[in-house]
Subunit: 157 residues, 2 copies
DNA sequence: CTTCTATTGAAAATGATTTTCATTATCATA
DNA sequence: TATGATAATGAAAATCATTTTCAATAGAAG
């Protein structure tokens, strides 16, 4: 699932999208591919910078936005005042997960469980939504909000 | 379902949460109760200001955060660079909805459909998550990302 | 090689949110 | 009802993520 023509898979995606494959964009992809989870733009910048110090923060922002529009990354906002990005792994993959957010201490727990039920539900909903709103759905986010164990205890005290 | 003691329902919630019921907080609640959908902090400020010009933006932010922690409002981030707030209506209510977000033009469509399937799925998942992560879940958000009709067409051109 | 256009990075601008801090309001109790 | 402790407030300043501007550069097509 790697090369076709001459380069990694995303080269074709860039081409299809009508943008050039450039050094900075390659580096940003490299960073995203080489890491685990939700990075902020600044995180990406720091790592990209290690690989190639010529790359600027502005370009990182711009590249992330392009990747977002292409459906290659997903953008999250957890109310931290900044966004986080991560590569989209197909919904079926084990990387797919969602979040439990504590509204008090703002802790975020990733959970990878219960994908079966989710898949079934998402499939149904997605199909209906696509049709009704003529929307091409590429991805989804599910987040639960509440109190983590510690904050729950504090509430009662 | 209104008064008990002397005041609207949220007075008790404030009390339970250990914070005072003050004029600015009442006004913020009034604004939220009197409007339809997702307001930014600035929106709330403007409206609160009309009702009582003494109220400051800082207090609006602080109040919204308290309401968030109490589970009275929900905070949304759609990647606009600012958050939006709205009162939480019970999941079963007709007000409950989710969002379709266009990653290209950033348009947001609220949808109110398919609550039945959702309720079933959410119930199951929520119960399991609560137990496994000892998390007290108060609310959830489901968002779909993709391309709206117009942007879909542009992509193909 | 030349031209046209996309891309880039630095710096400045923007804009939302938070922090600081002195003042004021509120509550429980003397 | 007066009082002292503490919560809440608003204005201004500080932060910090993100966007815009703009001149310089790189890449593709001829």
């Amino acid at each position: 699932m790697r090369r076709r023509g001459r380069g990694p898979w995303w080269h074709n995606r860039f081409e299809d999208f009508g943008v050039r494959v450039t050094e900075p964009r390659e580096v940003v992809m490299e960073v995203l591919l080489g890491t685990a989870e939700h990075l902020t733009a600044a995180d990406v910048y720091v790592r990209a910078h290690e690989l190639n110090p010529a790359i600027g923060l502005t370009t990182v922002y711009r590249t992330l936005d392009i990747l977002l529009q292409m459906g290659i990354v997903q953008k999250f906002d957890f109310g931290e005042g900044k966004s986080r990005y991560e590569l989209i792994n197909n919904s079926q993959s084990k990387e797919h997960h969602h979040h439990l957010v504590c509204v008090r201490c703002k802790t975020i727990i990733d959970y990878y469980d219960f994908v079966d039920e989710e898949l079934e539900f998402i499939q149904k909903t997605q199909d209906k939504l696509s049709e009704k709103y003529r929307f091409h759905i590429m991805d989804h986010v599910i987040s639960f909000y509440g109190l983590c164990e510690q904050c729950k205890v504090k509430s009662q005290g």
